[in-house]
């Protein structure tokens, strides 16, 4: 028996990236732009989609990622928007994020020819989803004012991974000791280039800005993988 050192020098998430590239190729081929929407649980991803998707110019579809259940997918289906539910775990427990392979497994259920934009609503989590590309064109996140101003400093990986940060639930501001300027300052420290939208998905206040952002992504040219 002999011990041998084998040089590898390979990203340990390379397998995921390869599948993400394959997804991206399929999306590009169908002319579909893809948004990966992330946030902590309860930040308002589904509510924001409910507030914006009905008024969108682009033909949109939704992929709902949840550990369990189809409550969110049912809400989206009420909008007459094509939706596919992806559950990451059978029974109790399951993956806390979507990875490229899970998204790939849902592609046969999605009629890509009927949509221009696919919104992938990731599992609510501020850590793991930032690590796994799924084949998206753009990454956006929601951070609600109920979560505290320090979140960009605690989860820089997520806040840096996103080109858009939506600050949701601003209708709650009168009831909270929340300093939105402090949040913006922390966000600028971590991701100075991020676009920021302040809105309330519940009241509809300024949610049109998110709809406009989705439309801009839908109109993007396919970039080379």
């Amino acid at each position: 028996m002999h011990r041998t050192k084998v040089k590898i020098a390979e990203d340990a998430l390379d397998a995921n990236t390869t599948i993400a590239d394959a997804n991206r190729h399929d999306f590009d081929h169908a002319g579909v732009r893809v948004v990966n929407l992330m946030s902590a649980p309860g930040a308002g991803k589904t509510t924001l989609l409910e507030a914006t998707l009905p008024g969108l110019d682009a033909r949109v579809g939704v992929l709902e990622g949840d550990v369990q259940g189809s409550m969110d997918a049912d809400r989206i289906a009420h909008l007459h928007v094509p939706v596919v539910q992806l559950n990451t775990g059978a029974g109790f427990g399951g993956e806390c994020h979507l990875d490229a392979n899970m998204v790939r497994s849902a592609l046969p259920d999605l009629d890509l020819d009927q949509i221009d934009l696919l919104v992938i609503e990731n599992v609510g989590n501020l850590v793991c989803p930032a690590e796994f590309r799924v084949g998206e064109d753009a990454r956006a996140m929601i951070c609600s004012v109920a979560e505290g101003e320090d979140k960009p400093l605690k989860y820089p990986l997520m806040f840096r991974a996103c080109e858009l940060v939506v600050i949701n639930k601003v209708d709650l501001l009168p009831h909270l000791e929340y300093d939105i300027e402090k949040l913006r300052h922390n966000l600028e420290s971590v991701n100075p280039d991020a676009e920021v939208i302040e809105c309330s998905a519940r009241t509809g206040e300024r949610t049109d800005a998110f709809g406009e952002w989705l439309s801009r992504v839908a109109a993007r040219e396919a970039a080379a993988v």
């Binding site: 390979e10 993956e95 280039d193």
Partner: protein, 126 residues
Amino acid sequence: MHELSLATGIVETVVRHADGRPVTSVDMRIGTLRQVVPESLEFYFGICSRDTVCEGATLEQEIIQARLSCRACGEQWELDEPDFRCRSCAGSDVEVVAGTEFEVDSIEVTEEISTDQEEAGCIAPR
């Protein structure tokens, strides 16, 4: 909490390269920006590697300090606090030079070799 997913990625990568040979150690290069807790990664690696060629292997983690470089003024510095603006000119056109690594650098495998090879001191590459 993401260490479980990361450990799964490590085991998958190593198994692919080990070619069935038992693995005794795995050398990782991990940037500080990946926010990995070394003890947690080691714990989950032990669980994920069960019943694979990696079972019982040690996980060596070389931590790579995050380094930034300002494209505007050329300042280079190590990042200790999560503030990605240039510490010299406060600009935002900053490049992350190091610190995002999550790489299997090398592995050590055990393999049987013939007496001839052992005497010649050479091992056939696989």
